[in-house]
């Protein structure tokens, strides 16, 4: 083609182009507000095909035939859309575009001070996955067991509950779907830690706060365990379980349209076999038997709304004898019957684009019949002079009702404002009968009405604040309290963040010391927390320091033969630091975490002669949790090691004018190595109709001697170690899941490793 031809062709084209319109070049560069050049940004002249994508240096250039006033749009995932008016009238347009980072959950800093979360959502606070709760060896299938491997919680073995940062177990409250749960644990038994009532499998999310938590939660001076129940199941299925401690079965039906489901389960627990295999310290004449039944329904009320119901019934009884420490040749007798009913109804919905509504109500009815006494060698009930107190009956009935409603209004980005109200009703009706048949009836009614408001403020992805406040009124104490809370988080570098939290936390006096002999008020704890956290997807490192100041703790005195609250003159403090390290990277296919807590605490409360380190607080606590799944064997292996330095023990007595120590000291250090194994053969079987999981869990595998404290005879002359009910325990169970279970197909077809 000659020069002439080419020239003519160009001429022709330009004429054609002239017909359509003039052509303009738009070019420029895209940066973020920190001056970083951003690649992959889509640039477009609005409502036209014309546009480009920025290269890795943020540059773009394209031609357009549009003219006149147009709107140029720049957009990219993770950034706020940018629009600019441009005028196309000849010449090259050169633009310098600055786009702002969108504040998203994924990128934004998260307030993590004092918070551990088990969730499948990718969040800074989510240091555990939901499955971790059941695959932690020392947890023994108990939600709180897994929490005890995290920093902040004590290894207390002689009683149930979470003892957090120098607080009692009563200072930790549990919430399911936002509402308070009143009998989260089975009824206390002297010197034996009861388990928590609910199966970990009914929860999809767990938040364990060791301090500084949201104004949405109250009546807990130390800690909040916040559980979120599962939504609709993935499929219809039936399940069956067989273990050394009992049998269970259940059914879950998912509606065809997947908009609703219902289900029920029943479990029978009988420890006869287990106690034959593992000799108990106590001599059981009534081996513990538990009947647990539950039922649920879940209904999607709209695309964004869900109504969930969970109902629970449990009846259990037990009875045992132990050689009496108070008089040789006799035996102490303890009997317990408990019936517990729990209903929880939760509803959440989005209203419009900006509003969210969360609500829940729960009702608990609990009945305990406890009976103590003394028996001679022939197992006849006896009453010995001076030891009349050994014979007693406690019949207690309680009704609890809780309701909560929270409104949330989304502001720009992730910022939001939340407010709402909570109502807690409790009616405890204990009747105490002493040896001669004399009855003491009490009725402690409490109505707590609370209002709360808090706001999340995200200034950028790097700075966030949560400001909240809570107002409570107690009808029992006839008092108000006002509790402000504040926390801040600041992103340090790409993977690090620092958080601070402060808050005031109030709580009613423990009901067991009520009715009080004098007027009493709320106890109070002030939390100060500073934290630094560094997270990559496979490694989490966290260090946290705290200071907790207790005010107005309850002091008790003997009044009418019982220990009753007499004043709020108690006080105390706790300080320390904690380290958490989880690593899934260093050793391939091995996942481990290490927790360490240092605690320095003293308090003067109850009948303490003066401020002392309480018996439920160890200076050093540590855990190592290791998990490994061996694919070839279809088996998960889990180990854990829990350590606690010796806790103090005391024998406090009243000398007629004041409380004094008769004895005190430190118990030996505590060590516990546990192991558990999950074997899942179906994981490799194609089209298996049955999904089976075999579980073996072995606590204290080395049989290390563990001492939880000491108990004393009433005259203080004899001292006896409080030890676990058996040196070691092995749990063996098989769980079947039948029916329309396509989990295995899912793995077979989709798990690409």
């Amino acid at each position: 083609m000659g020069l002439k031809k080419t020239g003519l062709f160009t001429l022709l084209l330009s004429v054609l182009a002239g017909f359509a319109s003039a052509q303009f070049t738009i070019k420029g560069i895209v940066k973020d507000n920190k001056g970083n050049h951003i690649g992959g940004v889509s640039i477009v002249v609005k409502d036209t095909y014309d546009g480009a994508t920025t290269d890795s240096t943020g540059k773009f250039s394209f031609k357009t035939f549009e003219k006149g006033e147009q709107i140029l749009v720049a957009s990219s995932i993770g950034y706020r859309p940018f629009e600019q008016k441009i005028k196309l009238e000849g010449g090259i347009i050169n633009l310098n575009i600055i786009i702002k980072e969108e504040i998203t959950e994924l990128k934004a800093v998260v307030i993590t001070a004092g918070t551990f979360e088990a969730s499948d959502r990718k969040k800074a606070a989510a240091v555990l996955n939901p499955i971790d709760i059941v695959t932690t060896a020392s947890a023994e299938g108990d939600v709180t067991g897994a929490m005890k491997t995290l920093p902040g919680a004590q290894q207390v073995g002689e009683s149930e509950g979470l003892f957090v940062r120098g607080g009692t177990s009563g200072e930790t409250k549990t919430f399911i779907d936002g509402t308070l749960v009143n009998n989260f644990f089975y009824t206390s038994i002297p010197n034996i830690a009861s388990r928590s009532r609910f199966s970990p499998f009914i929860f999809k999310g767990t938040v364990f706060s060791t301090g500084g938590y949201s104004a949405l939660y109250g009546q807990a001076m130390s800690s909040a365990l916040i559980l979120e129940s599962i939504d609709l199941p993935d499929r219809t299925s039936a399940s069956l379980s067989v273990s050394v401690i009992g049998l269970g079965g259940g059914y879950q039906q998912l509606a065809k349209n997947k908009n609703s489901s219902w289900g029920f389960s029943y479990e029978y627990t009988d420890l006869t076999l287990a106690f034959k295999l593992f000799k108990q310290k106590q001599n059981y004449f009534q081996i513990p038997v538990y009947h647990t039944a539950d039922a649920n329904f879940r209904i999607k009320t709209s695309k964004t709304g869900i109504l969930k119901y969970y109902g629970y019934f449990n009846a259990n009884h037990l009875g045992f004898r132990e050689n009496s420490i108070d008089t040789s040749g006799y035996q102490d007798v303890f009997r317990l019957k408990n019936i517990n009913v729990y209903h929880n109804l939760a509803y959440k919905e989005k209203i419009g684009k900006k509003w969210r509504f969360n609500s829940g109500i729960s009702y608990t009815n609990n009945k305990d019949d406890i009976n103590g006494g003394l028996q001679d060698q022939q197992k006849n009930d006896v009453t010995l002079t001076g030891l009349e107190f050994k014979k007693f009956t406690l019949n207690s009935k309680a009704d609890y009702f809780n309701a909560k409603a929270v409104f949330e209004r989304r502001l720009t980005g992730l910022s939001a404002i939340r407010f709402g109200s909570e109502y807690n009703y409790s009616n405890d009706m204990p009747t105490f009968t002493i040896y001669n048949g004399q009855q003491f009836k009490y009725n402690i009614k409490e109505n707590i009405i609370s209002a709360f408001a808090e706001t999340d403020i995200y200034i950028t992805n790097n700075v966030a604040a949560k400001l909240g406040t809570r107002l409570e009124h107690s009808s029992l104490l006839d008092k108000f309290n006002f509790a402000p809370r504040i926390s801040l988080a600041y992103k340090v570098g790409k993977e690090g963040q620092a958080s601070l939290a402060y808050g005031i936390f109030y709580q009613d006096p423990d009901k067991r010391y009520l009715p009080a002999a004098n007027t009493v008020t709320f106890s109070r704890a002030d939390h100060y927390i500073a934290q630094y956290q560094r997270t990559t997807s496979l490694i989490t490192f966290r260090i946290e320091a705290f200071y907790k100041k207790y005010h107005d703790l309850i002091k008790t005195d003997l009044s009418g033969g019982r220990e009753a609250a007499v004043s709020n003159k108690g006080f105390g403090d706790a300080k320390g630091f904690e380290v958490f390290w989880r690593d899934r990277k260093t050793v391939k296919n091995l996942d481990y975490w290490i927790s360490y807590s240092y605690l320095d605490t003293k308090r003067d409360f109850l009948n303490f002669p003066y401020a002392i380190q309480p018996s439920f607080a160890a200076k050093h606590t540590a855990s190592l949790v290791v998990k490994k799944f061996v694919m070839a064997w279809k088996t998960g292996f889990n180990w854990s090691y829990n350590y606690s330095s010796g806790r103090p023990y005391y024998n406090i007595y009243y000398d007629g004018s004041q409380y004094k120590f008769r004895d005190k000291g430190l118990i030996p250090d505590y060590h516990n190595v546990s192991f558990s194994l999950n074997y899942i053969p179906a994981i490799a079987t194609q089209n298996a109709k049955t999904w089976i999981v075999y579980v073996i869990s072995w606590s204290n595998i080395f049989g290390i001697k563990q001492t939880y404290g000491y108990q004393y005879s009433y005259d203080g002359l004899k001292k006896q170690a409080i030890v676990p009910t058996s040196r070691t325990f092995i749990y063996i169970g098989i769980f079947f899941s039948f029916g329309v279970d396509r989990t295995q197909d899912a793995i077979n077809n989709n798990l690409k490793i």
Binding site: L8, A20, S42, V44, T53, D120, I683, D745, N749
Partner: protein, 231 residues
Amino acid sequence: MQTISFINKSTNMKKLILIISVVLAANFSIAQTSDKFTKAMEQRIAMIDSTQGPDAWKEMTNAFERIGDAEKTQWLPYYYAAFGHILIGYSYWTGQMGNATDKMDPEADAAEKMLDKAISLSKETSETWIIKKMIASLRMMGDPMNRYMIYGPQADEALQKAKELDAGNPRVYLLEGEDKFQTPEQYGGSKEEAKLLFDKAKSLFESFKPESSIHPNWGLPRLMYYFSQYK
């Protein structure tokens, strides 16, 4: 070049240029919408099989989204934009577990948004279920150990739907074979079974006739890649 030679020989060039220009311009404005759309689409669709890597796919995806936004009533640009986001998402796969959700999830979200737009402009078809399947797989791949329980069945179900709506869609068997191929044997993967599915896909590709030049017809080069792995 024929036209140009002809023009060159012509004596009254100016006149002719004018005539041609007028004719072309008139034609241009009538055919503008459909032709411009089809051409723009064809050009980008060719990129699906010819380009590699997140940068090229980003460019392609953005282009589809621009076309969709400008046209407003066409579902195909959004369909391809969704597909593009999936390709970008997959490119973040590092081979290490639980490592990629922060990058993969936003792409899955974007793909979902685009697919919803496509479906609202058309309907759910075998092809849209294929995209749904890929979105679920993408979400799962970000953190398989913790997510297979949720997204595994979702992916399966979507693929079943795609098959129900069009058993002759070769992409159904391509994806099914791909899953079999990629899954480790102890989890039920099998290269032999995958081969059968790939063969089936291949025979379907041979007879598959897309509705038009811009309707979904991708996958053959991807299939050939798997065949090359057997040698």
